[in-house]
């Protein structure tokens, strides 16, 4: 949620020309809600969510066998140092692949909130600070980070080498076991992450009641438009209008995938200031697994975009997708806000907003929403839920070995 008070743009949107635009009346609802052409166009930017973009850096990205192995590994606690933490510990399938905690609790207590993995395949940057530029490069880091899984790549390679089922599954995807050749541990480690990423790419959530409404609005289908309540429709009008949420929450992911400092007060139990994207860019530059590293499978090689560094990046964090936001509390990068109401009240009043001492979004101003408007916005956000990408994707397979004729 990052509504920016773009007063000028909104005044422009409300120009006489816009008022002359065709209004659309929602039939079948208890209350007649109308949408202008501008609103309809802005809503059309939010849905539908297409297929995930290809990931040429991972030649196994869309291999069902790799995704199957990745689903097994995702739930396998043996990958952690103490054998008691898996990816699913924090990215719990029963909690929309988040954990419901303010801060991640893996092998240790982390400084930031666990993002949902639903629709992670659409993200251009990974982590709150964007320090990874591919899904597999992201999956590598928690495996070895001391406060997450505290694992070790040599131990992980050894586990796969010794476990007959894992080894058969691995070789079925990546080819013969590499033996003791130079760099084999790093290669296996990267392949583990690429299998996990292939699984994560299947975690697509795009059939919310809002999506059905948006389809109905686009096609003039009143029954589909009845998928969300009048209150939610009023909230949607606020979302694309007065509240300015769409300034950052646009596109079918309902996020720009970029980085902003909105002045959220830091979590009182987290020491120091979190630099966010400022260090994220530095860490990305130093990341040997970034897109232009040795493990990029893309052929021909495509040069990645060059990201900008600068003081304005201090305290910026990636805009979260609002899909499934109603079931992924608490909110913000340190879980500072427990409820959606807390978030919207923050934008409405700006009470407690802090300066990071550097540049930040300069047009944030209190929205001064009424209680009814806050209720409507919450009602809209609750229509963005679709937590089941497929029942079989929520649990580990019995075996890591992929059988094309078996679930």
């Amino acid at each position: 949620m990052m509504p920016l008070a773009a007063r000028t743009a909104l005044r422009r949107a409300a120009a006489p020309g816009a008022l002359l635009a065709m209004a659309v009346c929602v039939a079948g609802a208890q209350e007649a809600i109308t949408f202008t052409d501008v609103e309809r166009a802005r809503i059309a930017q939010l849905s539908p969510l297409g297929d995930p973009p290809p990931d040429p850096t991972n030649r196994h990205a869309d291999d069902p066998a790799a995704a199957h192995l990745g689903r097994f590994l995702f739930h396998d606690e043996r990958l952690s140092g103490a054998g008691d933490v898996s990816c699913a510990t924090c990215h719990d399938p029963a909690r929309a692949f988040a954990d419901g905690r303010a801060r991640a609790q893996g092998a240790g207590l982390g400084p930031r909130n666990t993002p949902s993995l639903l629709n992670a395949a659409y993200q251009r940057w990974l982590f709150w600070d964007g320090r990874a530029d591919s899904l597999w490069a992201q999956a590598l880091q928690p495996l070895e980070r001391d406060i997450e899984m505290n694992g070790d790549r040599r131990a992980i390679a050894g586990l796969i080498e010794r476990d007959p089922a894992l080894r058969e599954a691995y070789e079925g995807v990546f080819g013969p076991w590499p033996g003791n050749e130079a760099g084999m541990v790093d290669r296996v480690f990267v392949n583990v992450a690429k299998a996990i990423a292939a699984y994560e790419r299947t975690l697509v959530s795009r059939n919310s009641s809002f999506d059905r409404f948006a389809s109905g609005l686009a096609n003039g289908d009143p029954s589909a438009m009845a998928a969300i309540s009048p209150a939610a429709q009023r909230g949607l009008k606020l979302f694309v209008g007065k509240a300015g949420c769409r300034m950052c929450h646009h596109g079918p992911l309902i996020s720009d995938g970029e980085f902003h400092n909105i002045g959220v007060p830091p979590h009182p139990e987290v020491p120091g200031r979190d630099s966010g994207r400022y260090d994220g860019v530095r860490l990305l530059a130093a990341n040997p697994y970034r897109e232009d590293g040795a493990f990029n499978d893309a052929d021909p090689y495509v040069r990645p975009v060059q990201v900008r560094q600068g003081p304005e990046l201090w305290g910026q964090f990636r805009t979260p997708s609002l899909r499934n936001v109603a079931v992924t509390a608490p909110y913000m990068h340190q879980g500072q806000f427990e409820t959606l109401r807390d978030v919207i009240v923050f934008y409405s009043t700006r009470d407690g907003a802090v300066s990071a001492g550097h540049h930040q979004e300069q047009i944030l101003a209190p929205l001064e929403l009424t209680e009814a408007e806050i209720d409507d916005l919450i009602a809209f956000l609750q229509t963005l839920t679709d937590t089941n990408p497929g029942a079989d994707l929520l649990v580990p397979p019995q075996s890591p070995i992929f059988r094309r004729d078996a679930p």
């Binding site: 743009a9 501008v38 166009a41 646009h250 995938g257 970029e258 900008r308 979004e361 300069q362």
Partner: protein, 152 residues
């Protein structure tokens, strides 16, 4: 690539219209008549001190919200605008003045054999008012041209 708003205000203003959602619509073609029609790109702007005409177009044709796009740019001498200049350097950047930030990526610049600049990796990640800057350098002097874009 640290240019920011604050240079001259002579702007070939682009008026975003509600009918042109997700697209920059039109520019003020003040010098169009001086250029050969066959090679005249869509939009023209004169640099702030009048030395250059920047003929530019978006590639592909419309300006997308939060998607990568490119620019095709010819830099011409305002007094002899017939052909692209080959003895100039060009850099391109953009900013949202009200937001206090620009693009989060650094665009790449390439010049082809005909002297045409091709800019890649541009991305306007937010809707609203953007300023697009063309900085032309020749003989140790840099002159800026800028246009204003409203992105829906």
């Amino acid at each position: 690539m640290n240019r920011r708003p604050g240079a001259g205000r002579r702007v070939a203003r682009m008026t975003g219209t509600l009918a042109c959602l997700a697209a920059a619509s039109c520019a003020t073609p003040r010098h169009e008549a001086a250029l050969p029609p066959a090679v005249t790109p869509d939009r023209l702007v004169t640099s702030n001190d009048g030395a250059f005409i920047i003929a530019w177009r978006i590639e592909p044709e419309t300006l997308p919200l939060n998607e990568a796009f490119g620019l095709r740019i010819e830099v011409r001498d305002a007094r002899q605008p017939g052909i692209p200049l080959r003895d100039v350097m060009l850099s391109v950047d953009a900013a949202m003045p009200e937001h206090g930030h620009g693009m989060n990526v650094i665009p790449g610049v390439m010049r082809d054999r005909d002297g045409v600049f091709h800019i890649r990796d541009m991305r306007f990640h937010m809707p609203g008012r953007w300023e697009l800057y063309f900085d032309v350098s020749r003989g140790g002097v840099t002159e800026r041209a800028q246009v204003e874009v409203h992105l829906e």
